[in-house]
Each structure stands twice: as C-alpha cells, then as structure tokens.
Amino acid sequence: MSVRLIVRILSEICVTIGAVIVLFAAYTLFWTGVVAEDAADGAVVRLRQEWARLPAATRPGAPAAPSVPAAPSVPSVPSVPSAVPPPPVPSVPAVPDHPPRTGKPYESGRPFAIMYIPRFGADWAWPVLEGTDPGTLRKGLGHYAGTARLGATGNFSVAGHRRTHGDPFRDFPRLRPGDAVVLGDGTTWFTYRIRNEPYRTVPGDVGVVDAVPVKSGFGGPGRYLTLTTCDPEWGSSHRLVVWARLDAEQPVTRGEPAAFHS
C-alpha cells in the first residue's frame, strides 16, 4: 500500500469527521430549536383548541366555583383584593372540591398547561408537559413528576432548557422578585409571583423542589412554584432556581389575569 493512498484515506477520514462535527453543531444550535418550537407551538395550539371545545357548563369549577377563597386549607396564600370574585351565582351546582386537585392525573410526556412569563416577552408561551426526561424536555417545559399539581398545595416544579431546544429559559437570570409566572390549564388562570432572585445551587440539591423548600424562605405549607434550569448558560455544573407563591387564581370565564397587562 503506497504512502499516497494512506495519506489520502487519512485525510478523507479527517474531512468526514470535521463535516460531522459541523453538522452536529448546526443540529444542536439550530435544528433542536426548530424542532422544539414547532412541537411547542403545535402543543399550544392543540391545547387551546381542546380547551375551546370544552362546553362552559362542563368545565370543572366554571363559572360557579369560587376562586381564591376556595382554599380554606391554605391560609398563607394572600388574596389580592381584585382577584376576589363576586359571590357566585348558584345557576350551576358548585363543585365540591377545588378543580386542580381533583383532575385526572397528568399523562407522562403529554402537555397539560401553558406557561406565560411576561418578563420574557409578550409572545413567550411554552407548554408544560408531564415529566422531566430528555425526550419530554425536547418538546417544552417539564413538570417534575411527583411534585404538586398546578395550583394545588405543595410545590409545582418545572424544568426547562436554558440553551438549545428553543432556549425557553434563556433569560432566566433576568427574573426578579415580583415577576409574574402565569399558567393556564383551560379552566383556571394561576398567577404566581416570584419571590427571590435566581438562586444558584448544585445539581444534587433536590430540596429545592420540596413541598416547602428550605432555602426559599417560605414559612409553611402553601401553593408554590419552582422553576429550574442550568447554569452556566452552556454548562451543567450548577442549576438556577426561582421560587414563586400563588398570588391569584381566576376561572377562564372571567378573562385573562391582570398580570398580562402590568
């Protein structure tokens, strides 16, 4: 075998490897975003269509269910005066328990809610899917299985990519105390208010998604939300965490929450 042939095969292998690396970079930086945004937009549209088809009378809790005062077991949630509804009209029999706590269990890998964070822009809307495995997080935000249901007492915890797969949490460090995190599940709007500046921790710090996270400063049981993503931006050595507390909730029949317009 001639030296010329060996050199040629070696250089062809090197060129091939280089091309594959360039393609992989294009896949990671660009194509995962295309796929994720496509999947997320599709999920958002499907959820909205599904929710629009729900007849008002069969919507659990709408329109007769009392909203904020319906949580007698959660005295620590402050009620915002504007969020307190007028006395319910008894045209539809009231639902005995609070809808988010009685719904059917979330189906793994399926979207069940849409999250809005006005700080990230008016058009920022991502579906929340059940579970946090990589295949699920490719399609949107992931709800930690085993943490509380949306709007229920406990800690509704959600993870999202900071980079790649659509960069949903790219602006995570810009979150500030008081920022709204709005979630809709088709029947109810939940407005959570962030309590802390992004808190940096290590990946093994699973306590941040506890029902009452120790480092969050929350005094006792309540209806909380936790968002997690990676830190640094392109690394995985740490995690960024924000905690939020349920601030207001209202049935969708009463229109969009005020947080969208503030």
């Binding site: 992989f24 896949y27 995962t32 993870a159 900071r162 980079r163 949490f169 997690t228 690394g235 995985s236």
Partner: protein
C-alpha cells in the same frame, strides 16, 4: 474512500453525481434523525433538573 465509492457507482458522471448526492442526504438524515438525538444528551447543556445524580 470517496474515490472507491465513486468508481463503484453505476452510470455516467451525471448519474453518479445524482446518486452520490442522494447518498449524502441520506447520511445527513440518518445523523439528524438518529445519531445526533442519541449523542446530544451526553453533552452538558442538557441537564436542567435537580435530580441528585
């Protein structure tokens, strides 16, 4: 390597070029559809959860 493939493709130069293009696209499709999705979780910027691992 590429020379060997070229020599073993049938037809004249145009047909060979067309087949080579289709083969290249098939390889790219396979990479994007199967290889990269498998390799990508091995990179660091995929870990966004706290999991104690």
């Amino acid at each position: 390597m590429y020379g060997w493939i070229w020599r073993h493709l049938p037809g004249n130069a145009w047909v060979r070029a067309l087949i080579a293009l289709v083969l290249a696209l098939a390889v790219v499709y396979g990479l994007f559809q199967y290889v990269f999705p498998w390799a990508e979780p091995l990179l660091p910027f995929n870990d966004v959860t706290v999991d104690g691992q």
